[in-house]
């Protein structure tokens, strides 16, 4: 199968797309800095601020990965591996933070000691 699968030249991402993506990235970047600027003036919950920043960063990542890094037109296996890292991080973050939130470090220990 591996021999057949890639005979066809993969679909093409050209300079025009690159420029568009780049423009989108710049817009997102100014959005995130802008949001930060606004937050210095307007009080919003801290978690929301973090959330906004992370959503924008993730969007940028998705754009870069899909277009600059050609994942959109890559083979299925490569696409899977691009996602694999996400799962690895998910395991690490969710479980570890789970412990911290339940443990309450520092300092209070939560209902169970």
């Amino acid at each position: 199968m591996t021999h057949k699968e890639h005979e066809h030249a993969h679909a093409h991402i050209g300079p025009a797309t690159y420029y568009k993506i780049f423009a989108a990235l710049m817009v997102l970047m100014f959005l995130t800095v802008g949001a930060w600027w606004v937050e210095t003036v307007v009080e919003i919950p801290r978690a929301l601020g973090v959330f906004i920043a992370l959503v924008i960063a993730s969007t940028k990542t998705v754009l870069i990965v899909l277009f600059f890094m050609h994942i959109k037109v890559s083979s299925r296996v490569v696409q899977l591996y691009a996602i694999a890292a996400l799962f690895g991080l998910l395991f690490l973050f969710v479980i570890t933070m789970g412990d911290y939130i339940a443990r309450g470090w520092p300092p209070q220990l939560g209902p169970l000691p």
Partner: protein, 333 residues
């Protein structure tokens, strides 16, 4: 090499349940670990190439079989899991009326202080029939307080408190080990736990013993009065530190008119912080409030309390805590 036991003594209320679970597991394991090898042995002999046997109609896969040996072990492990889980929750939940004893681990000794101030090194005297809660911290690296006969163990961490509880049932002397590797003399960080009847324990508490200084060393052969030898009762020592030694009382007045909040009855309550969160005021919270007051600021108060980091030893910290807790207890009555 006089006697060599094959099974540890049972000397606490946990020993029985833990051992019961253990023997159940051994039994279950024998089904797999004991029977399976014999099945394998049987098959090996039965179907050895030199044996005439029926080898036709081979099966190469069978979903019902696969499901059987997936589901049965699954059910078994889940059963033992739940058994163990409830026991675990019990082991981690001290009853309300437990005796509190403070333990400090340091390379390479255990330093213990009883509520009345009596200190001991590498020994722990406890009454039987009485839940005992150990409040433990370390001065340097991670240690672990382990009493095999009681089936309890808990790591002791620097920079925070961990707790552990047990109720001894049999008078006697038991091993006390440091179970977390902590450096060169890890294996010498051992001692003994002496479980005694309540009356004996009380007598022991008030008997002067060896003089043990707050830094953990044993003092010289100074003939000293009773109180000095036992050590300062913890609450008293704490109240002295609070009032004069560290000057806490200048801000924390019990009439509520000080710069800082009134600390009476604070232990065990929920405190509202200036960011709206509620925190549970346990040992770790009090400790942090003293060492790093800026981290969690009580609502309605300015963040002006100085840090006492580096100024209070672990020993004094324990005394302050004992004092703060006693304020709460007094309140409750």
């Amino acid at each position: 090499m006089r006697d060599f036991p094959l099974f540890p003594e049972q000397a606490s209320t946990f020993a029985g349940p833990v051992d019961a679970l253990y023997w159940t597991l051994v039994g279950l394991s024998l089904i797999f670990g004991g029977v399976l090898p014999f099945i394998i042995l049987y098959l090996m002999v039965r179907y050895h190439r030199s044996q005439k046997a029926d080898r036709t109609n081979q099966v190469h896969s069978s979903l019902p079989l696969e499901l059987t040996w997936t589901v049965i072990p699954l059910v078994l492990v889940l059963a033992v899991f739940f058994w163990g889980a409830f026991l675990y929750i019990e082991i981690r939940n001290p009853p309300d009326r437990s005796l509190e004893i403070y333990v400090i681990g340091k390379q390479w000794m255990w330093h213990v202080q009883h509520p009345n101030g009596k200190r001991e090194n590498n020994e722990l005297h406890v009454p039987i029939g009485q839940p005992v809660r150990l409040v433990m911290t370390s001065q340097d690296v991670i240690h672990s307080f382990y009493i095999p006969a009681f089936r309890v163990k808990q790591d002791v961490l620097p920079g925070r408190y961990t707790t552990m509880w047990f109720e001894a049932t049999e008078p006697g002397e038991y091993h006390l080990f440091c179970a977390e590797y902590c450096g060169t003399e890890h294996s010498l960080m051992v001692g003994r736990v002496v479980a005694m009847r309540m009356a004996d324990y009380e007598r022991w508490l008030t008997t002067p013993g060896e003089i043990i200084l707050p830094d953990g060393s044993t003092g010289g052969a100074v003939a000293s009065p009773l109180v000095g030898a036992i050590g300062d009762p913890m609450v008293l020592a704490g109240s002295q530190l609070f009032a004069t030694g560290l000057g806490c009382a200048s801000c924390h007045r019990n009439d509520g008119l000080g710069i800082g909040p009134n600390l009476e009855g604070i232990y065990g309550t929920e405190v509202r912080l200036d960011n709206g969160e509620l925190v549970f005021a346990d040992e770790n919270y009090l400790r942090e409030s003293i060492l790093n007051p800026a981290a969690k600021v009580a609502t309605g108060y300015a963040n002006v309390m100085p840090t006492y980091d580096g100024q209070v030893s672990e020993d004094q910290m324990n005394q302050l805590l004992a004092y703060l807790k006693s304020l709460g207890a007094a309140d409750a009555e």
